[in-house]
């Protein structure tokens, strides 16, 4: 057993390398950190910084080409690097467990969920029948409704949140003293994420388990952890108590990271997002000096040649920087672009309608059942305007985008008008001009770009098809477009695989702009990107809008991003618009009860405690929607409102509650306002 002064986990000068093509490449550089019993330690950083490697190293589980090249991993004082395999297995059975990023694949698809949880108990010697009972109790502990029934299901029959609860139940089944959580809520919807985080917090209070919490999401880390470490290029650059580190970031990287995030109240009309110039170093790059020097606004020759040591900022707050005192007043990094001529700048959108969508509905047939995924959606989009579509998975965001683009055809009665002209329902009946004037940027540029073609060819083909240019003119135009998106000329002949995620997305945006579009649908364009890259892409989109007067339909699950970039916002639930209004109105309230719950579930980085308005129950299936208002079984404001019967029997209309602010709710807006103040 541990004594109070032995850390539960200590990484001591840990070095990990991956062997790639015969060469050892450093992934973790001299990492030292320790986690006390019962403490929650957060490791944060962007992709490729080594945070998952650190998590798996704590379990002594590295990929086939990975190896520990130096230092020690101490679990309660014992070095697990030197342990025999069966000793490590026994630790995993009894003292250390892990929760993974992708719960759906972490469960075996061919074994019932109950048996997989029970397996943990059987491994510590419990009989089969007892273990099944204990597994059911474990599912109760993670607040799964109807555990007996869930026991008999397979992984694919669980929702993402449910699967993560099962994985957490499995991890806690061995009563671990250390729980390693690797991006446990990434990929879950905001309200589900909030529930899972609440659960983890409660369980920690009850069990006193120490936690190593890995996340790229600074807001989540801020709300979950006692102490935080910031990783960059495999090195720990800053560490401290959560509040200290967030309130007084002292490494230029941490400062930059926090500035990139589109946070509370920032809007494109007034603020430009900071970025971190340059790109992260390739895996295993060797550094003589500071790992961040190449991208740092404060770096001098000293930084490039000498390795900085951790300096104390205050108490336990340390930063690996020669200039930590100047970090928080570091000059802002805003890439400004020069417009061709000021006259071309479209300052604000005007209210003339560019796109008008009326009574769009869509019914899919699934296993013989009719599923109405979109129910009578109407909205207008002005010239140079950005409309944000917000909602959780299954709310119909992407289907609306597909309907607008003509990728799926709407049901009878749906009308789409572009610039006063009615559009054909499906893409193949629209002419080249109509196709070119509405384009899309996808979430994952890896899958959207043909990897066999060069960047120029990808964009050039689109120019040829949509503008009718001949090949050489198309190539010239492609180069122009790419340069306009700040893809350097040296990269124009590269293939997508040679580009970083941000550059790939720039190529995808160039492609979308090939036909001089009037509207570009952006479907989660920054969800797969790191925050510093996201900021640059958002800036680019804003610039393009100012330059070309293009309109955007912007789909995102990240409310901060949507708030920043949108002029108006439509909040969707179960295929219906439940709230519609300017970005201002929707985010400042009064809120629709669903919007209220959604907003309250986002962990914000400023650390302010906001009371969470939980949505009870699960998202109903669109094939069998509840009677009355579709939100009513889960509505946080229904009970005690005095409108219960109406809510349960009659579907409310989308009505204008304030000038330019629409809601689909029976409760009068004045009552909501009062409840929400």
């Amino acid at each position: 057993m541990s004594t109070t002064n032995t850390a539960t986990l200590e990484l001591r000068n840990l070095e990990v390398a991956y062997t790639v093509r015969g060469i050892d490449r450093e992934v973790l550089r001299d990492i030292s950190l320790s986690i006390a019993p019962g403490e929650a330690y957060g490791l944060v950083g962007e992709s490729g910084c080594g945070k998952s490697t650190a998590a798996f190293a704590a379990m002594r589980y590295l990929p086939r080409n990975g190896k520990i090249t130096g230092g020690a991993i101490l679990f309660e004082g014992k070095n697990i690097v030197e342990m025999a395999d069966d000793e490590v297995s026994s630790l995993r059975r009894s003292a250390i467990s892990m929760v993974y990023q992708n719960p759906a694949t972490a469960l075996n698809p061919t074994i019932r969920v109950g048996d997989q949880v029970a397996e943990v108990f059987q491994l510590s010697g419990v009989s089969k029948s007892d273990s099944l009972e204990m597994a059911q109790a474990a599912l109760v502990q993670v607040q799964i409704a109807d555990p007996a029934q869930v026991m008999r299901r397979y992984a694919h029959q669980l929702s993402g949140g449910m699967a993560q609860r099962v994985v957490i139940a499995m991890a806690l089944a061995s009563n671990p003293r250390l729980l390693v959580m690797d991006e446990p809520t990434t990929g879950l919807d905001a309200t589900v994420e909030a529930e899972v985080l609440d659960l983890v917090r409660e369980l920690r209070r009850d069990t006193g388990t120490a936690v190593l919490f890995i996340s790229h999401n600074l807001g989540v880390i801020r709300h979950m952890c006692d102490r935080v470490g910031v990783l960059y290029a495999g090195a720990l650059v800053e560490q401290g108590a959560t509040a200290d580190l967030f309130n007084n970031p002292s490494h230029p990287y941490t400062v930059g990271l926090l500035r990139c995030i589109p946070r509370g109240g920032l809007h494109k009309s007034t603020d430009r997002l900071d970025t971190i110039p340059g790109t992260p170093p390739a895996l295993g790059t060797h550094f003589d000096g500071c790992v961040f020097a190449d991208r740092c606004a404060l770096a001098d020759d000293n930084c490039r040649t000498r390795l900085p040591q951790m300096v104390t900022i205050s108490g336990a707050h340390v930063a690996r920087c020669f200039h930590s005192d100047k970090a928080s007043s570091m000059p802002r990094s805003i890439e400004l672009i020069e417009y061709a001529s000021q006259a071309d700048v479209h300052s604000v959108h005007n209210d003339d309608t560019l796109l008008s969508i009326n009574h769009l509905s869509k019914i899919f047939t699934q296993d013989g059942h009719k599923v109405q995924v979109i129910n009578d959606v109407s909205f207008n989009l002005g010239f140079g305007e950005t409309l944000g579509l917000v909602g959780e998975s299954g709310s119909g965001k992407t289907t609306i985008a597909k309907l607008v683009l003509g990728l799926v055809s709407p049901e009878e009665g749906g009308v789409i008008t572009l610039d006063g002209k009615g559009l054909a329902k499906t893409l193949n009946r629209r002419d080249v001009h109509d196709v070119g004037s509405m384009q899309i940027v996808f979430q994952n540029p890896d899958q959207a770009l043909n990897r066999r073609h060069s960047v120029t060819r990808i964009v050039g083909r689109a120019v040829e098809r949509l503008r009718g240019f001949n090949v050489s003119d198309a190539i010239d135009r492609a180069h122009e477009l790419l340069s306009g998106m700040r893809v350097e000329a040296s990269l124009h002949s590269a293939r997508p695989v040679q580009l970083s995620g941000g550059l790939k997305q720039r190529v995808a945006i160039s492609r979308a702009f090939a036909g001089s579009p009037q509207i570009v649908v952006c479907d989660e364009p920054t969800s797969a990107l790191d925050v510093s890259v996201q900021a640059a892409i958002l800036n680019l989109l804003v610039d393009l809008q100012k330059q070309d007067g293009v309109s955007f339909i912007f789909i995102s699950h990240d409310l901060g991003v949507v708030r920043y970039i949108s002029d108006r916002i439509a909040v969707l639930y179960l295929g219906r618009v439940v709230e519609f209004g300017t970005s201002q109105r929707v985010f400042n309230g009064p809120f629709h009860p669903y919007t209220e719950a959604l907003l309250s579930s986002v962990p914000n980085i400023d650390g302010s405690i906001r009371k969470r308005i939980p949505l009870t129950g699960v998202v109903p299936s669109p094939s069998n929607p509840p009677s009355g208002c579709v939100l009513n079984p889960r509505c946080p404001r229904k009970a005690g409102s005095g409108y219960e019967t109406l809510c349960e029997t009659e579907e409310p209309n989308l009505t204008e509650v304030e000038p330019g602010h629409f809601m689909r709710c029976h409760i009068p807006v004045a009552n909501l306002k009062q409840l929400q103040s």
Partner: protein
């Protein structure tokens, strides 16, 4: 599930029916005058007419087709033109012999190939892996009848380990002895099929070994061997089953060649005789029977696949 099986069964019936129609027309466009060929140059015009009447060749093609299919449905396979005995009496014992050979071959090939694939996957990148994958593929490029001849010449004639025929002499036809005689022909089939099955197994096992759920099992504290048997094999063998089922036609094709080399009185030998003699009745029935066997194995593979994979099982039961 029941509905799924019924649906697949229905599709299988349609498949066999289509095969019957195609086979019928194909055999009837073979060149040569059947009656003339069987009765010889000396036959009179009356003899020819009589022959055609007895075998129903004087009817229209469609009438012949439906007559034949009707007979098939009653279990009447017709009469061999060559031997003038019922096709059933000719084919049934041959099928019995072939089933024995196929059974021995199957029980030799499947476990050995799957074991080979699992061993290769578990030792990925090592010498034994390379030996299995490269060796398996090299062996597979040589046709089974060549292997059969090579095997007969080496282990049969030169080293005299195995008997050179596939059929024991009268007097010692105990089951064990029969199996012993069938091992060498089976090995020639094994050499051809091992590479394919082992490689598919290997790929499936590697995918499962690298899966997130295998990682979960190991990080639960399971020792590797147990995690492999409990979490990897079931998931890995799913694609393998489909491959084995898809190799059944190949196995049947291989049987014909191997039977001939080993002079084994099986289905293949009879079928080859029928082709040489243009014995329509035997040929048609033989093809129908082999297509039945293939369709049945495909059905079994599909059902097994569904039973082992809950995702499909659920889908099909909806």
């Amino acid at each position: 599930m029941k509905q799924f099986i019924l649906k697949r069964l229905g599709l299988s019936v349609v498949t066999v029916f289509l095969v019957a129609v195609i086979v019928f027309f194909l055999t009837h466009i073979l060149p040569g005058n059947v009656a003339r060929q069987y009765l010889g140059k000396g036959a009179t015009e009356e003899d020819l007419v009589e022959f055609r009447r007895v075998f129903g060749l004087d009817r229209s093609l469609l009438a012949q087709l439906f007559g034949w299919i009707g007979d098939l449905l009653h279990g009447d396979l017709g009469e061999s033109m060559q031997y003038r005995v019922s096709v059933k009496d000719l084919l049934l014992p041959a099928i019995g012999y072939s089933s024995k050979l196929a059974g021995v071959a199957f029980f030799l090939i499947v476990p050995i190939s799957i074991a080979g694939g699992v061993i290769a996957a578990m030792n990925r990148g090592k010498k034994i892996d390379r030996a299995i994958t490269v060796g398996g593929l090299s062996a597979a490029v040589i046709p089974e009848f060549v292997w059969a001849i090579v095997l007969v010449l080496t282990v049969g004639v030169t080293f005299q380990i195995f008997p050179v025929s596939a059929f024991p002499d009268e007097g010692n036809r105990s089951i064990l002895n029969q199996i012993w005689y069938l091992i060498l022909p089976s090995i020639s089939l094994l050499l051809v099929l091992f590479g394919y099955i082992a490689r598919i197994t290997r790929a499936g096992v590697i995918e499962a070994l690298e899966s997130d759920y295998m990682r979960t099992a190991v990080l639960k504290g399971m020792i590797r061997r147990k995690a492999v048997s409990k979490h990897v094999l079931r998931n890995a063998l799913l694609p393998t089953i489909a491959v084995i089922a898809s190799q059944v036609p190949y196995l049947i094709g291989g049987l014909i060649a191997v039977e001939i080399v080993f002079n084994y009185p099986g289905f293949g030998t009879v079928l080859k005789g029928a082709v040489d003699a243009r014995d329509y009745a035997v040929l048609q029935s033989g093809v129908i029977i082999s297509s039945l066997v293939i369709v049945i194995f495909q059905l079994i593979a599909d059902i097994l696949f569904a039973v082992l994979n809950p995702r499909i099982r659920q889908k099909v039961s909806e």
